[in-house]
């Protein structure tokens, strides 16, 4: 006998408003598919058009983000609590889209020189950005996992984009294997958290944890495993070993993109999950996040001292920067300045680091990448403006005022002191002092006369796009360092509207 079929959940369909809230991601995801189709009709010599189309999609998506920021209907979870439509997601989306746009502008010239100009490149950049934007808004463990996979798979392919070069293949394979392993940790952690709380949506997990009094060890194991999975993506110590090799092996324009965008997305979701979903067990994960932050600052800065490759130095510097950003996550969840500091730091890091990588992307000559320190020697005498911009980016990474990096560090350290974690701030300040050494070493190198018997590196001429990107990142670094309130107030608004807390 057939039992009467009764759906145990009322079948409600998502409304059109849900689609509107997802508009930035939809435009970019659609752009990814359209670019794949355009690649078929655009002649091989005109592939720079694809960059223009990619830029248009990114700009349209950015417009949708701006609309979402001012939309009074934002501040709610869409698709049955799967994804947030809030100012926090829009802030992160804007940072991601600006990063992607800058990378797309410098790419055609670089890819042409390397003989890698294929249409898939732009499509994959858009796909990775879509994944990152979904991650920034993710409100469900399922979406977090799938968004991470979407961005990771795109980046695995992109880091192996130079198919016939062994170092690029090695980078892709290493990233794929270790990344798959990290995803395993992440998924296992999610399974344990689901098993303990019975929910995959962050809002419900947060509510469930709030009412519980005792904490099951399995829940803690789950929380820690999720942290490991995310820490891998943010390249925090001790999950950082892939970073220098992948950054060095991948084509420089790809490194530019993933060094910034992956970190932004990973920290965006880390804040949402740890600071705002797991605050009930803060006492249990606090120590681990503390240790990871300190280890990242120490290892990143000390290892960067001994490098002789610009990409590896920036990779280790990125590890150290991730440690500083993690301070904002490690401070008490009740301290809003921590989250604001993370947002400010991410924005500052994005413009500065893209600027630094853009210099070595744009200046790279035909054939060999501009990677060794020796290749930068004497840059200031041939390309004075580029060298000055690079100097500014290095100062910003080192945390000198009046640059973006100074205020990024200032806010996270202030948050640490405000919530009584002074030791964390002291670790940060001490390691920043170390970092000045290797940043300035590169800066000084550019202003040294090349030795008489050593041939100078054959730098490329900067194209219009390359100059525009350098100009934009320079301006961004200065604006974030001088007109602080501009971005600070936006970051504060983003923090104030952050789901799942704002929904109550």
């Amino acid at each position: 006998m057939l039992a009467q079929a009764v759906p145990i959940v009322p079948l409600v369909t998502p409304s059109a408003k849900d689609l509107l809230g997802l508009l930035p991601e939809l435009i970019l995801g659609g752009g990814f598919v359209v670019l794949m189709l355009l690649d078929l009709v655009v002649p091989a010599r005109r592939r720079a058009w694809l960059a223009a189309f990619a830029f248009l999609f990114i700009a349209a998506s950015f417009g949708a983000c701006m609309w979402g920021w001012f939309d009074s209907g934002s501040g709610r979870a869409l698709y049955f609590g799967s994804i947030a439509y809030d100012k926090y997601a829009m802030f992160i989306n804007a940072v991601l889209l600006i990063s992607a746009a800058l990378v797309v502008i410098i790419s055609p010239q670089y890819l042409n020189r390397r003989g890698l100009h294929y249409g898939e490149y732009y499509a994959l950049i858009l796909a990775a950005t879509t994944g990152m934007m979904l991650l920034a808004g993710a409100m469900s463990l399922m979406v977090i996992f799938l968004a991470i996979e979407l961005l990771s798979v795109s980046l695995y392919i992109l880091s192996g984009f130079s198919r016939h070069e062994e170092r690029s293949q090695e980078a892709a394979l290493k990233y794929l294997l270790l990344g798959g392993f990290a995803s395993g940790f992440l998924l296992f952690g999610m399974a344990l958290v689901y098993g303990e709380t019975g929910h995959t949506q962050l809002q419900q997990i947060e509510a469930a944890l709030r009412v519980s009094t005792n904490v099951d060890p399995l829940l803690l194991a789950g929380v820690i495993l999720i942290f490991i999975g995310l820490a891998f993506k943010a390249s925090l110590v001790p999950f950082h070993t892939w970073t220098p090799d992948v950054y060095q092996g991948a084509p420089t324009s790809v490194t530019t993109f993933m060094s910034v965008a992956t970190k932004v997305a990973a920290f965006a979701v880390m804040v949402r999950v740890f600071t705002y979903t797991f605050p009930a067990v803060y006492a249990h994960w606090q120590a681990i996040v503390f240790l990871v932050a300190i280890a990242s600052m120490l290892v990143g800065n000390i290892a960067a001292l001994t490098q002789t490759s610009v990409k590896r130095m920036l990779a280790y510097s990125g590890i150290a920067q991730a440690g500083y950003i993690l301070i904002g996550v490690a401070v008490s969840p009740s301290e809003p300045l921590g989250t604001i500091g993370v947002l400010y730091y991410l924005a500052a890091y994005a413009v500065t680091n893209i600027g630094a990588f853009a210099v070595i992307t744009v200046m790279a000559g035909r054939g060999e990448d501009l990677d060794s320190y020796a290749g930068l020697r004497g840059l200031a005498y041939r390309r004075p403006y580029v060298a000055a911009a690079m100097g500014l980016f290095l100062l910003s990474l080192g945390g000198f005022p009046p640059t973006a990096g100074f205020f990024g560090k200032f806010f996270v350290f202030a948050a640490a002191i405000k919530s009584g974690q002074t030791s964390l701030a002291l670790w940060g300040i001490a390691t920043s002092a170390v970092s000045v050494f290797y940043y300035l070493r590169v800066a000084l190198l550019m202003y040294q006369r090349p030795a008489a018997d050593q041939p100078e590196y054959q730098w490329s001429r900067s194209t219009f796009g390359g100059s525009a990107v350098l100009l934009a990142t320079t301006a961004g670094t200065l604006v974030l360092g001088i007109l602080v309130t501009l971005v600070y107030s936006a970051a504060a608004a983003a923090q104030g509207a952050l789901l799942p807390v704002a929904a109550g």
Binding site: P7, M36, F80, R163
Partner: protein, 185 residues
């Protein structure tokens, strides 16, 4: 029933270890068949008959046939593996110890509160926030397929759609990385 589940889980774990440890690729693949089948049996024991069938058809059926087919096609030699050195042993032991510790404390209902670890009576450890929406009765009354479909197209609609994008990216990557170019040929 609990004993049966334990047996199935043990078989799944043992065959999973076999996947990693067997020197011949084909044995690894066959161990994987056992693992996948055991996991599908777990679905069955948990009242998810539809997922049992899907798991069996897709994984034990389609995917594993592909695996075995490729192994037969490539005919790889037996693996030449280095002996386990002490560092690997220490690592394995540490992972095993932590895993066992976590699961034993959880199984015995020991919870971690403000005063450190606290023992509890077995059975009293059930979580106050353990609220699964789908009991066996509810699922069976509504129908397995209906429940899965209902969830898939409501709560998990967005993840479901993201999956399609993910698969598209993976397909493009596979084509790009293996494509022969004019320069290379």
């Amino acid at each position: 029933m609990t004993a049966l589940i334990a047996v199935v889980m043990a078989l799944a774990a043992i065959s999973a270890i076999g996947v990693v440890l067997s020197p011949q690729t084909i044995y690894s693949a066959l161990s994987l068949v056992v693992t996948v089948t055991m996991i599908s049996v777990l679905f069955l024991l948990l009242n998810a008959q539809f997922l049992f069938a899907v798991q069996l058809i897709i994984y034990a059926g389609a995917v594993m046939v592909l695996f075995v087919f490729i192994i037969a096609l490539l005919n790889p030699e037996a693996e030449d593996r280095p002996a386990l050195d002490y560092r690997a042993m220490i690592g394995l032991a540490a992972v095993a110890a932590v895993t066992i510790l976590v699961f034993v404390t959880a199984r015995n209902g020991i919870t971690y509160g403000s005063g450190g670890f606290r023992g509890q009576q077995v059975g009293a450890a059930s979580n106050p926030y353990h609220t699964f929406a789908f009991g066996a009765d509810a699922v069976n009354a509504a129908g397995n397929v209906q429940t899965v479909a209902g969830q898939l197209f409501t709560t998990y609609l967005l993840p479901f759609e993201i999956t399609s994008l993910l698969l598209l990216v993976a397909a493009i990557g596979a084509v790009y990385l293996t494509r022969r170019t004019k320069e290379a040929a």
